[in-house]
Amino acid sequence: MPSVINFSLVALIFVFTIPLGATVLTLLCRPEHHRRVCLAGIGVVMIGLLALFLGGEADILTGLTFMGEPIIFSISNTAILLYASTLLPLGYLVWRNPPDETLAMTPYQWSLLHLSLSAGFVAFISGQFMIRYIALDVVGLLAAMTVLTSFSVTSGLKQFIIIFQILRLGDLSLLASILLINHFSGTLEIGPMIAAAAEMPPNARLWVFLGFLMALWIKMAVWPFGIWQEKVHRHAPSVTFWISGLMIPALGYYLLYRITPIINSAAIFQRISLFSALALVVLMILLNTIKQIRYARFSQLGGVMSCFLLAAIPFSNGKLLVYYLMGLLLHRWLMLLEDEVQKPALRVLTVLFPLLLNSLWLGFNYSGFPPAVSLGWMVVTVLVVAWDLYLQYKPEPKGRFPEQVGQVRLEDQPYGGFLVNIAEWLNNELELAVFTQGPVKFAEFFEGLAGWVYRNVEGQIEKLWISIGRLLVALSEGTLSNVEGRIEKLWISIGNLLVALSEGTLRKVEEDATRSTTAVMGNALNSLADYEKNVLKKSLRWDLAWIPFLLVMILVMLFVL
């Protein structure tokens, strides 16, 4: 009967969820138990890892998808080995750390540790690049959060900002590479993606390589990109520094291991990796010697050894690279312990370890190295060891590395660093001066224009109208005085004339008429007197007297009839 339970999947879920459970327990239990919870969690996770290891290498399909892409976990011995080898020193650190120091750790700090265990595990075993990216991003955030101690201390937050921004720059570079490969491969599964990346067009492959390189420089804490690690080293409690000091570089190493085919797909990439790594080592030693930079030994040597790994990639030889990786992790582990316990014997071991590791690597892998590179490899190794020995005579001050003299205190620096100056300049010169003041000026310009138009055009027009009005008035007055007046005078004259004429006519006619009438009347009266005199002189004619009687008779008869 086939097994219905996928034991690898169960183990995987187990390893992933145990630290989450430990986080919950940490938040619930008393401070004196935090250490035990952590140790127990690590122990159980180790058992789960053992189960996974025994289950063998396999790709586990979870049946889940993220943004349409299946979520796959790729169980490989390398990943398990690397993860386990980062867990062991954590257990040791928690176990050996002075109780007062671990007691001083807050539940918040313990939680960061536990959460980073879960996220780190996913980052190691995810077979889907986007899920791995997410896990890496989360680990980066958790690492940066280790420097946050109190809301009242702004310097902690400023450290956090610097650390997180640098780590995120690395993650974004990684994201660019992932997405660019995805464009050509059409999948987010890591194996096929890496295979497809090697076949990409050279231009696109260069971008992919540069993105990965930037991500690696930052994650492996190579100088100068490893400044974030230096800051965490100074400000985080020693146990939580494990996330930055060991977990993130280990994830970087594993990433480098996975993308080896991409680096080896072009000679130019190999050369860039090799020479940039060696150049950074030499430059760092040089600048350190002339005291231009002052890193703690952990950060300095850790970054240098990461450079060796980068330089070794072009000449890697299969499984040997894994052993070299393991050696590097062991070196970091020793450095971390040495940093804590400060024992002289351990210090000698850490000084000589690079020489031993690089010699062994070269010895086992000598056929891969061209003679000139072999020579360069060992010369730089000896140089590093000599320089590290030199540092032993001029030991750094005990405890945390001090801030540099003359450096502006972080508390006084603005959030956002140099970008703030650029932003403020842009804000003043463009946003305020142009885009905010612009419309105001624009409105003012139009107001001014309107005023000018009002004053100069509208006013002139008004004046013109006034002039026209005045002219018309004057014309009217003139007309009145010159035309109308004259017409009036004419009419008056005519009137006067007519009056005169009338008066003259009247006088003349009336006088003449009176005179005539008087004369006529006089004449008539005289004539009448004369006539009366003549009439009176005549005798009455009775023979004609019957005519009126006859007429009366006729009238009466007419009336009667």
Binding site: T65, F66, M67, G68, M130, Y133, I134, D137, V138, L141, S150, F151, S152, V153, T154, G156, L157, K158, F160, I161, F164, Q165, R168, L169, L172, S173, L175, A176, L179, L180, N182, H183, N203, A204, W207, G211, P414, Y415, G416, L419, V420, I422, A423, E424, L426, N427, E431, F435, T436, G438, P439
Partner: protein
């Protein structure tokens, strides 16, 4: 007409009834007015959800009644997957703002008018997303503007509100006029205002006309999206507006510009017409992203900081639209939704900070982290979310947009710069967080705890943001179907 078609009309009609009730009910208290507003607005949320199963079967739901038959204009609505995504975003943002306004002092005076205008504002946006008639679209488009201008004018802060609302009105109206020119051109050419018909025929227009219309459409909608340098209305309007209105402006109204781009030039014209614009849209998006982020970094007024972040975030969306690829545009649609949630939540946080401290200048605020832990957690999640931190939502949309940038084949460098430029978001987000929640400097007058009425919707949105980020599947599917609506299955 089928019942579900009639139901569709309820999205626009029921809020109108709410408006009428509010206008008539003059003695309504603030709570009563808010209840009327929220209930009316809830219909606009419930109805699309009820219609979801029908939408799955039909692909799109139409409602149409003749309006001005002589001019071939109808009251025509269409609910498709693209409209659904934008509609729900807008309605949710409005509802969140209305609930938030219950605890906010803005709108205490003349509450019935206040909520009526909020409803009209939302109605304008709902109508914009649903209109299947260009005439109707423009009416809703302007209703959105007028309602928001009135809200700023009547309930805005400071003496400058008249000038600010005038500036907001004039500039966005100029953009609207450009859109109007295009709509009239289409109407005159084809004799119909029906958008479905116009989509069928618009590709027959001469190429020069198509280019001209696309240019005008894009500029017009970019004004609404507040893309640099057309963003100048946004910081002032966001700052002066009462907080609930700011939430709607930032979370919902900006999205209408994106909807316009997808609904008009992208739907109307063939890809060959849009293609020449692609690189310019991507460059404009990049510039807006970087510029907005830098301004947010330089600003001291806390509301303006978040306002400028909208300019930056709209840059991502325009970049995604400019890629003209399935992933880029899906990412842009998803970004609209995620941005709405994050921005609404961040403005709520800002509102609480202002309420608690009575301060708006970031230099005078500090040390709130120890005092207000829930608010601090919300702010931290919101700011990490807007910075694209996985697994919070915006990460999903951002990487889709960037993947679209690579898929477009326009320029690898351009996409890489845009991607790395997103780091600037983190810079201003952390500055904002650090200045307000860290340090020992505290304002003289500070409340002991955040007002619960304001905190509850803020926490709810924060939880929603986390869930949306962890379960992006449904949204991705909607965005894909929405894109299929726009391009008729090309993507």
């Amino acid at each position: 007409m089928k019942p579900y078609q009639i139901l569709l009309s309820g999205i626009t009609i029921l809020p109108v009834i709410g408006v009428i009730i509010l206008l008539v009910w003059r003695k309504a208290t603030k709570i009563q007015a808010a209840i009327v507003g929220i209930v009316s607005e809830s219909f606009a949320l419930v109805i699309p959800l009820v219609l979801l199963s029908t939408l799955r079967k039909e692909g799109a739901i139409f409602f149409s009644v003749p309006w001005i038959p002589n001019m071939n204009i109808s009251f025509s609505l269409e609910l498709n997957w693209l409209a659904l995504t934008f509609l729900l975003t807008e309605v949710l943002a409005t509802l969140a703002a209305m609930i938030y306004s219950l605890g906010d002092q803005d709108g205490d005076k003349h509450s019935h008018y206040y909520y009526a205008l909020l409803l009209l504002f939302s109605l304008g946006m709902s109508g914009t997303t649903l209109s299947n008639d260009v005439f109707l679209f423009y009416i809703f488009w302007e209703l959105m503007l007028i309602a928001s201008v009135l809200l700023i004018l009547a309930w805005g802060h400071g003496e400058l509100r008249f000038r600010v609302s005038l500036k907001y009105f004039i500039i966005t109206h100029l953009g609207s006029l450009m859109v109007l020119v295009c709509l009239i051109t289409l109407y005159v050419n084809f004799g119909t205002a029906n958008l479905s018909e116009l989509i069928l025929h618009a590709s027959t227009l001469p190429r020069n006309t198509q280019i001209f219309l696309t240019t005008f459409f894009l500029i017009g909608f970019c004004v609404k999206m507040a893309i640099f340098p057309l963003h100048i209305w946004l910081p002032d309007a966001h700052t002066v507006a009462p907080m609930p209105v700011t939430i709607i402006l930032a979370a919902a109204m900006l999205a209408m510009g994106t909807f316009g781009v997808l609904r008009f030039p992208y739907s109307l014209f063939p890809l060959e017409t849009i293609q020449p614009f692609a690189i310019w849209l991507m460059i404009a998006g990049l510039v807006s992203e970087v510029y907005g982020a830098l301004m947010a970094l330089a600003e001291q007024e806390i509301k303006r900081i978040i306002a400028y972040s909208s300019v930056s975030q709209m840059g991502y969306i325009l970049f995604g639209l400019g890629t003209l690829t399935a992933r880029g545009m899906q990412g842009a649609i998803m970004h609209v939704v995620y941005h709405a949630i994050v921005k609404a939540m961040l403005f709520m946080v800002v509102g609480i900070i202002i309420t608690v401290t009575k301060e708006r200048d970031i230099r005078n605020v500090g040390g709130l982290g120890g005092k207000l832990p829930i608010l601090t957690a919300c702010a931290a999640i919101g700011l990490l979310g807007i910075s694209g931190m996985p697994p919070l939502g915006i990460f999903n949309s951002e990487w889709m947009i960037f993947a679209g940038g690579f898929d477009s084949g326009v320029s690898i460098a351009l996409t890489v710069i845009t991607l790395i430029g997103s780091l600037l978001t983190l810079v201003y987000a952390l500055r904002f967080f650090g200045k307000i929640f860290f340090g020992d400097q505290q304002p003289a007058e500070i409340m002991e705890q955040s007002p619960r009425a304001l905190l509850v919707p803020t926490v709810a949105l924060t939880v929603f943001l986390v869930i949306e980020g962890l379960l992006p599947g449904p949204l991705l599917a909607w965005a894909a179907q929405g894109l299929s609506t726009v391009f008729g299955g090309v993507f």
